[in-house]
């Protein structure tokens, strides 16, 4: 059974390092800010809070998180630099954090702490996960939505899943081959897919057909993959495009590559309109 871990207020680089380390434990990793985390702390087994050296309100944010109703029962760990650790020990009463992890995060230290806090061990066969390759997909997604539908979407989190299963209703998906192989998928709830398609085709809500939705979701996937592909050319993660396919009816599974975790990037267009991109891409020569 996987363990749910929140990375709260992590800067991008630290987030990638932590996500990569945790992926080796098959942890379900959620990258969130402190406001999002506060509302659902009780859904995590472990919460890692990033305490930056420079932020004057780091202690205040921590106290807010710690005092939230949903914090009861969740183990909360502070991640900070060596100098940040000194600050934490000065300003926080003893026992306010289950532990403090000092950056740069070292695999053997993380391993020891996770074993002590949650009792979980590393699964031996996991393939090493490089998460840098998801950034071109994030940029491609925001740009595609902005240009094709006039919609601004923001990344709200990144997590790791063991396969390409989704609770969404419709997915555009594409197999990737070449120097790296795997798959990518774009998944929406039915209502959001309809909203986007109406914007793209400039038709009134209700005028869109099922064929319109299938085609547009597949084409969005195609554009996102194409743009990300151009950014990844000449890297270990370069790939060739294939024709997109669309899966309708949820929940469903878009794909699985044995032993390779799927990176799940969550996006929001508005408060209630959320969707996700799943990327599973592994260099063949590794």
């Amino acid at each position: 059974m996987s363990v749910s871990v929140a990375l709260i207020d992590f800067p991008r680089l630290q987030e990638q390092i932590a996500a990569r380390l945790l992926a080796e434990y098959n942890a379900d990793v959620h990258c969130v800010n402190h406001i999002e985390a506060a509302a659902r702390l009780d859904t995590y087994n472990l919460a890692l809070y990033f305490w930056p050296d420079s932020a004057t309100d780091a202690a205040e944010r921590w106290q807010q998180l710690r005092s939230h109703n949903s914090a009861a029962g969740v183990r909360m760990v502070i991640v900070t630099s060596e100098s940040g650790k000194g600050v934490v020990e000065r300003v926080l009463p003893a026992g306010m954090a289950a532990d403090i992890l000092v950056t740069p995060l070292q695999p053997h230290v993380v391993s020891r702490k996770l074993a002590a806090l949650l009792g979980f061990r590393k699964d031996p066969p996991a393939t090493r996960l490089d998460v840098q390759y998801i950034n071109p997909f994030i940029e491609a997604t925001t740009e595609t939505f902005r240009q094709m539908a006039g919609m601004d979407c923001v990344r709200t989190g990144v997590s790791v899943r063991l396969d390409g299963s989704t609770k969404g209703f419709i997915s555009g998906t594409m197999g990737l081959s070449g120097p790296a192989e795997g798959f990518v998928a774009l998944t929406f709830e039915d209502s959001l897919a309809r909203k986007i398609v109406c914007r793209m085709l400039q038709v009134q809500p209700g005028e869109e057909t099922e064929d319109d939705i299938r085609d547009a979701v597949g084409e969005l996937m195609n554009m996102i993959a194409g743009r990300a592909k151009a950014e990844l050319v000449n890297t270990d993660h370069s790939f060739q495009l294939s024709l997109p396919t669309t899966i309708v009816g949820g929940p469903h599974t878009v794909g699985k590559v044995r032993g390779v975790p799927v990176m799940v990037i969550s996006f929001a267009i508005a408060e209630s309109d959320r969707f996700e991109i799943m990327v599973c891409l592994i260099p063949r020569r590794k």
Binding site: D212, D215, A216, N222, M223, G226, R227, L241, L243
Partner: protein, 125 residues
């Protein structure tokens, strides 16, 4: 006069049609390379511009482009690639094969109109 849009996505064909409708040109549509070549054979004299996708079922856009540019009857028809292949190597390959213009998806509606107008002006010279 007409513009031919060749793309397996109906979404893209509709977006192109919407952009071109205001220009007073007829819009012809093909969902793959074979359909496109058939349509070109029938309407070569009317077609001023072809908007061509790269990745389609069956024949690729590049194959269609090479067929057109090696046929004396069709070689002067202006071709603009409209594709999600944004890699510079693909752009160079298409231009070397005779495409006159290249626009990558995703695209802004204004940019699409601009590129179509630019390509049409090439067709008139």
């Amino acid at each position: 006069m007409a513009i031919l849009t060749v793309d397996d996505s109906t979404t893209i064909r509709r977006i192109v049609k919407r952009s071109v409708d205001d220009m007073g040109l007829e819009v012809l549509e093909a969902a793959d390379g074979a359909q496109a070549l058939k349509m070109i054979e029938e309407r070569a004299e009317d077609i001023q511009l072809i908007l061509l996708d790269w990745n389609m079922p069956g024949m690729s856009g590049l194959e269609v482009l090479r067929i057109l540019k090696t046929n004396p009857r069709y070689k002067d028809i202006v071709v603009m690639m409209l594709t999600s292949e944004a890699d510079q190597n693909f752009v160079v390959e298409a231009l070397r094969s005779g495409a006159q213009n290249y626009l990558t998806k995703p695209f802004d509606a204004k940019m699409l109109t601009l590129k179509i107008q630019e390509s049409l002006s090439l067709a008139q010279t």
